[in-house]
């Protein structure tokens, strides 16, 4: 009997609380979590119904939803990457992505059935992957230095490519060499900016010199070597030279 009364009491309390939650929905009482739950259910259902709909459209979600945790205050002194060097890094990231796109276009050209230079194509696909990797490593570096807590959405814009067709393999290798030279120049400029007074970013400069320039210079030498060999083979044997060279790539 006592149990029955107790459970009745519990029921009554629950019912009252539910009613209170319902009222607070209209009052937008931020202390109650019921409205959040209701919205969640509604939005998720909507999402299931229309796959294309963006959940973030609803403003009251971002305002009231408890998903956005507050960022606690911590000391800021350690975040010393800023101004010119930071902007230079952001610019360099886009440069790497642009290069990746250009290599992708080269690969797609040489993969065509009527061009059929699979060796070139595979090489350029590989280069496109590498450039993208370079870009994302620089992004990770910025995160490591406490950056990219905001303005992430506009860090990379999807580029267009300047060229989508080439006369022959040598022309593409020449463009690739020029592209690498451009990237190298851009890194050198970035190093200058980050090394300059009044604040020397020793670690970043070392990283850019030791890892990025290292890779650029070796890459340039490799491309130059390939280009020279190909040009020698093509000067007397033309198409046959390119055919054989492609198979050796």
């Amino acid at each position: 009997m006592v149990k029955l009364i107790a459970s009745l009491l519990v029921l009554a309390v629950v019912a009252q609380q539910a009613y209170g939650d319902f009222k607070s929905l209209s009052k937008k009482d931020s202390k109650s979590f019921a409205p959040v739950r209701r919205n969640e259910g509604k939005k998720l259902k909507q999402n299931n119904d229309h796959g294309q709909d963006r959940i973030v459209k609803n403003d009251e979600w971002s305002g009231e939803c408890k998903g956005s945790l507050e960022v606690p205050e911590i000391p800021k002194g350690w975040m010393d990457l800023k101004d010119g060097c930071l902007n230079g890094m952001r610019h360099q990231i886009q440069e790497e992505i642009n290069a990746s796109y250009q290599y992708l276009a080269m690969a797609a050209y040489f993969a065509r059935d009527t061009v059929n230079r699979q060796g070139f194509a595979e090489n350029f696909f590989k280069a496109a992957k590498e450039e993208r990797e370079h870009g994302s490593k620089l992004v990770e570096y910025l995160s490591m230095r406490g950056q990219l807590t905001d303005s992430v959405s506009n860090l990379i814009t999807v580029p267009t490519v300047a060229k989508q067709e080439w006369k022959d393999g040598a022309a593409a290798l020449e463009d690739a060499l020029e592209l690498e030279t451009k990237v190298t120049r851009s890194i050198r400029k970035l190093i200058q900016t980050c090394e300059g007074k009044p604040y020397n970013h020793y670690h970043l400069v070392d990283y850019l010199t030791g890892v990025y320039l290292e890779e650029q210079l070796h890459g340039q030498r490799e491309l130059a070597g390939k280009l020279v060999t190909l040009k020698k083979m093509m000067s007397t044997h033309g198409e046959l030279g390119e055919f054989l060279f492609d198979k050796s790539l």
Partner: protein, 233 residues
């Protein structure tokens, strides 16, 4: 005389029909019967309008759709990369979420390359600059990516569904256009549709799980644990 003319007409019609069947062979025959080598090289300049090419079946109908889809995959690849970056910041510090989105980004990039290989296998070309509007293309306008954990799962779920819709669209075109393309339909089924159903299902599961876990006054611990779970996936 009339009979002769009629015969000649029929013979030439027959030759024409055969020519349509054997374009490439005919062009080689014509080129080789001329005394200069330049005629031969003229047919094989490597231009995309060469008569000798790998285009067959419904490639004309699916090519623009696949082109649009390649651009969609690339766009999404960079969107995911930035989403991963967002969760890699010291303020977010969610390695599990970062891993999830980095994985999706890499997948989309690899898929782009696979699609380029597929379209060029079929004698198609890729156009990175013009954005053909189709059900296989996605908006190039990037949504705000500075969102919290649950929102990001919702964004990713929508993304995955858009990509699945794009692949489905190519498949539909491949089997319902006036000239059908079973090879392309098969490729999409084999390489994309199954895989995409998996990733849509996975993200829907994540989003619903996290939404449930967050029905507490302070969801910070729930999100932390969920992130730990994602790291182990």
């Amino acid at each position: 005389m009339k009979l002769l003319v009629a015969f000649a007409l029929i013979a030439s019609l027959g030759a024409l029909a055969q020519a349509e069947e054997e374009y490439c062979h005919n062009s080689v025959v014509t080129a080789c019967s001329s005394s200069t080598f330049s005629a031969l090289t003229g047919f094989f300049t490597g231009e995309s309008n060469s008569i000798c090419n790998a285009r067959f079946a419904g490639i004309e109908h699916v090519e623009p759709e696949v082109q649009a889809y390649i651009n969609s995959q690339l766009t999404k690849s960079y969107e995911y990369l930035l989403l991963a970056t967002h969760f890699n910041s010291y303020q977010k510090n969610r390695p599990g979420f970062q891993k999830l989105y980095q994985g999706l980004s890499d997948r989309s990039f690899d898929d782009s390359i696979a699609l380029i290989k597929q379209i060029t296998k079929r004698g198609g070309i890729v156009d990175f600059n013009t954005r053909h509007e189709s059900a296989a293309s996605v908006s190039t306008q990037r949504p705000t990516l500075e969102v919290d954990e649950l929102h990001s799962l919702a964004l990713a779920l929508d993304n995955e569904k858009q990509l699945a819709t794009g692949a489905t669209h190519i498949h539909t075109r491949a089997i319902h256009a006036t000239e059908r393309d079973p090879e392309m339909a098969h490729y999409m089924e084999e390489e994309y549709l199954g895989k995409q159903a998996d990733s849509v299902r996975k993200l829907s599961g994540y989003a619903n799980d996290l939404a449930k876990l967050m029905k507490v006054p302070d969801p910070s611990l729930s999100i932390y644990l969920f992130d730990e779970y994602l790291q182990k996936q």
